[in-house]
Point group: C4
Chain length 371, copies 4
């Protein structure tokens, strides 16, 4: 165990024997300090949207294709020409040092081990360069929480580009911190610095609440920002936090190279619909102009299948990965991805789908199940 500012970080490095991803939460809770765990697990307000996110997968059902003559389903896919061995990617998630002393470096290693896609958060515990260096040949995206200070934004984007980031994920659904009761109960202050924030004039994030950190971030984000970042970086810009067809089209009109359907895992706006419920209409509107990434509530191979069939091109998640990180470091992260890939492969075979393209064309039906 590593102790930093009194906060006990896991140092574990081991493969995990995983029954299923939901069961990791309890295990991780036992080893992540209360404040850190509350920050990771918590949603906004009364967690209504957070709960619906996972329950909503019951609203669509897989219609298997019998006699489909397939075997050994192939999970490989790609985005922006980048080949991936799995459609399940790591969502950008802040402050992974709360879970493990190696933070995002170990996450990147674990994701690389399964041939997946890593994305880094602006609020990472480890720096852009260090995280990329942990898995130098694996693809990474960089997620930007836009600062009010454009000099700082450009500095981050420069660093991301230099490190080899393949795309920028611009988060637009977190212009203020959600009302997270777990953090209030725990009076949570980040005990660990955020590496990228050392360039902020106001410090490195350590000893601050998430609200104070967001305070440095821009509240006002507009279509012009999408364009500006795309032009500045000449990288694909993915707009994260889209929940309506209209906004998806506006983002694309502003130059977005990808749409990221998400409600931030129920951590920001509470009272909006489950992300899975809004996905089909957005996918219909986007109509394959740009790829769609989806997250919020994914815990099962069948959830991944349903999200792909409902219009997603890649499916992301974070909390279970962070629990795997706490429990096993890079190997734990790898185990988490292997588990969900294993569940997905079984689902694909049983649904009669050979490839991810087949899954994307698979029909869903909509009987009325509450959960």
């Amino acid at each position: 165990m590593t102790v930093i500012n009194g906060y006990e970080q896991s140092d574990r490095e081991q493969k995990l024997d995983i029954l299923n991803l939901p069961s990791l939460e309890e295990q991780a809770k036992a080893i992540i300090p209360t404040g850190g765990f509350g920050y990771i697990v918590g949603g906004a307000e009364d967690n209504w949207t957070l709960r619906q996110n996972t329950k909503a997968f019951a609203h669509a059902q897989i219609v298997p294709k019998a006699l489909s003559n397939i075997e050994n389903p192939d999970l490989s896919t790609s985005i922006f020409g980048i080949p991936l061995k799995t459609p399940v990617m790591m969502a950008p998630a802040a402050a992974q040092g709360l879970a493990h002393s190696q933070g995002e470096k170990d996450t990147a290693k674990g994701v690389a081990a399964v041939g997946g896609l890593m994305s880094q958060s602006t609020y990472s515990s480890t720096s852009i360069a260090d995280t990329q260096a942990a898995a130098p040949d694996a693809p990474q995206f960089f997620q930007l929480y836009m600062s009010k200070d454009w000099t700082f934004n450009e500095s981050l984007l420069d660093e991301a580009k230099k490190a080899g980031a393949k795309a920028i994920i611009l988060t637009v659904d977190a212009t203020v911190d959600g009302y997270r009761e777990a953090d209030i109960i725990n009076n949570f202050q980040f005990p660990i610095p955020m590496a990228n924030l050392t360039k902020f004039s106001e410090g490195d994030g350590k000893g601050k609440g998430i609200g104070e950190i967001y305070a440095s971030a821009a509240q006002k984000i507009s279509e012009a920002d999408v364009r500006r970042i795309a032009e500045y970086t000449d990288l694909p810009v993915i707009v994260k936090g889209i929940e309506s067809p209209e906004d998806a089209l506006r983002a694309i009109g502003a130059g977005a190279a990808g749409i990221y359907v998400s409600n931030h895992g129920g951590r920001e706006l509470n009272g909006g619909p489950a992300a899975f419920d809004v996905l089909p209409a957005i996918a219909k509107a986007v109509n394959h102009q740009v790829p769609i990434i989806f997250d919020s509530g994914v815990r099962r191979g069948s959830h991944v299948f349903k999200a792909l069939a409902a219009g997603a091109d890649l499916v992301a998640f974070a909390r279970p990965v962070i629990y795997g990180l706490a429990l096993g470091g890079a190997l734990g992260v790898q185990s988490v991805f292997e588990e969900i890939d294993h569940e997905l492969a079984i689902t694909m075979q049983l649904a009669g789908t050979q490839t991810i393209a087949d899954v994307k064309h698979a029909p869903l039906t909509h009987f009325n199940y509450e959960d």
Copy 2:
């Protein structure tokens, strides 16, 4: 603590550290005597409507507008030309002396502190004049439980007008007391006088059950009464307890200057729909002819947002405020409003809405969630 007729009233005066409004109920229960608490918390019959009131906010969901380029949402609004710093107002609620020795006086102070709108109940523990004097410069409405005795009604209306009431709220959904089981279980009799009732021939309400008090009130209320009160006072009359488009239009036809959509917090008719569920059709029928106030079940910033987006101009609540009153007097009331305003401000920012007018135009979607 103040003891009156053996009833122990809170004397607390302090700001509250509030996690969320629902959590206040348990705290208030610990300090409000059983009979008083039962009166405040209770609904009618098996509380079916009471429960649906809050659950029904799940029936509509907020569709955030991304890339909206806004910051620092502005909660200010107005009604009848009266500027307000928040769209959340104090619903008329009886007998607040059950919660605190200062009763409605402290409520008025707390509401004034946040720039909100106070409404007084006919069955207040403190008199119209005293309650207004507690916050002399702040706007107040006076709610009338119409007596069978018009002399008495006119006397109350005179006093309200003299005290500066900006409007009259005529309650029409409580022509008999609801079947409140908590009061029956507790054999509840009001231990504290109702100041306005000292003018009733039959006494001041002390030592009576709510049923006996209602017995002095008029059961028969008609459109003619709306007209009569409007003409007598020359004040805007808001008809409270409207649950259908037809009745809203009838009330407006009778001279109502405002419609108050409410089922009395589930305390009167049980078996009617959740107030939130009937709001959209009423708002469509009213079509901005007069402002709409809404209450029943509101506990969260996201609820306030949804009610405004569904057609309300102001959103009221009472039980959480009374709990705050018991726990902290005027400062406690202020804390309650600050909490829900804080949650609302976050919701507005995350939904991409700058002003209350924006919220009123914000789209809601309707996926099928039970609760």
Copy 3:
């Protein structure tokens, strides 16, 4: 207490202080012997239909009429020209000696005390004449479980007519006993004779299971039987156990003078819909040709209101009455009816309905609430 064949019958005669009808079940369970209680409370198979019966009242909601200018609602109504002080009647229910030593005699007295309508079951513990004599001036209907032996049927009908029965209720939904698990668990045999069965060649029912008793009853019941009974008695025949519009029309075509919508309180066919859910379509088809009686699941004044508004002319129930009988004899029965009438009167006032005719014309709305 009276002990008969080792079975302990209540002898209580007292008014009850009733909070609500559902709360009586637990109280009655404490004084009715296990086998008898199981027989009374039990439904068929896994009790699915029994549970839906009460939950289904959530599927329609009362729309109150504001500003309706009414007071002191009037619960009086009539059927077949018989004046009644309440639209709530006693459903035919077997073997009330299981609950009280005076059995149906006390039930009849209690019902008469509130000016209501009594109905006797073929399987009553007390005889037709004795039950009628207990409340000689009060109206009663006689319910017939048709025997395979027409001589016996005619004998019962003769006795009912002689005693002054105003109508015959022919039960058609119980041509075999439902699969009642409580009776199986308790290996329940009737400890008390059924007075009317002393005329059956095979005995009086004592020491038999309900299945054996039903075995003497006719399984085959047809439209011809309705006609035959109507002609034989020259009394109105009400067909009980109708769950579809088609069957209601067929019964009327066969001479039925009334339709009784019921699923036998969930005690016979399991897996059919809640009785309340099928009522509106039946009422629409019947279109006031004959009166409609409704039972199954009614426990609250608001349930009675909803059933009337959905198309019923009278609303019946039995289990809560039998619990009241056990707890207080005739006075207990009276208390049960007074309680539900009280709740109904409040509901009527708050809904803005002056008379039962008004209730029958009151609108219901249908938001989607599960329970």
Copy 4:
């Protein structure tokens, strides 16, 4: 008790006093070793589809026909000209030696005792010939898990035909083993040989997990396989595991003589709809071209009725039968079928249906009940 490889098999032979089939699960759990019980009871992933299977019977409701003039309902029916005394058949289920030392032999005897239809699984504990010999005059179907090795398939089909199998059930929904968490938790390996697998080159199944056994089975199954098996055996081929109208028609086009609607009791694909929910559309598409067998979730007589009314010709189940086998051997199996037949007969009488043909034409209604 028989102990084989340390696994304790029941030897009980007795009639059972059954309250209802769901109650058998707990009783069986007490006598079947943990690993075996987990294998029998378990579903896939988070058991979502497994749970919906039984809950879904709430989605349709029986509309009884009153005054139908019927008695003594007749449960007899037939398939492919084979007369059966009950429409409830034994679903093919693997490894019944886990429940009882006599395995499928006792199941066959018990099924024969009620005049029902037995189906054998490829993965039976007893051989095709032995199981048939246990009830030599009773009809049996043979279920094929197609091997990658056609020589082996042909050998099994030869043996089945020689033993007198009346039809072949080709399972197509289990081309890989579902993600069964109970087996993972128990690290379950089959302690008992699978008699038919002694012909597999890789052994007899003993000491293997279900995954390893499936590994020998074909993943690729196509319409050509249906044709090939039909031509090879000249027996009717029933395709098991159909969940959509399209697949039903494709199977018929490939020569299927029957359609078996099933999701394998929730043991294979998780996230698909309840089998009962997809049945009506499939039945409509099949339009009586071939008979339809249905399983997944059936536990009650009312479930059998609903499945028949929704389009099934025969209704199968397995888990409750296996519990009966463990608790009472052949007599226990017989008791299970007698219980569900008894419940079905009551349901038929109360619904006004004389024959299975009547049930198939009985209307269902669709009020919205969650469960």
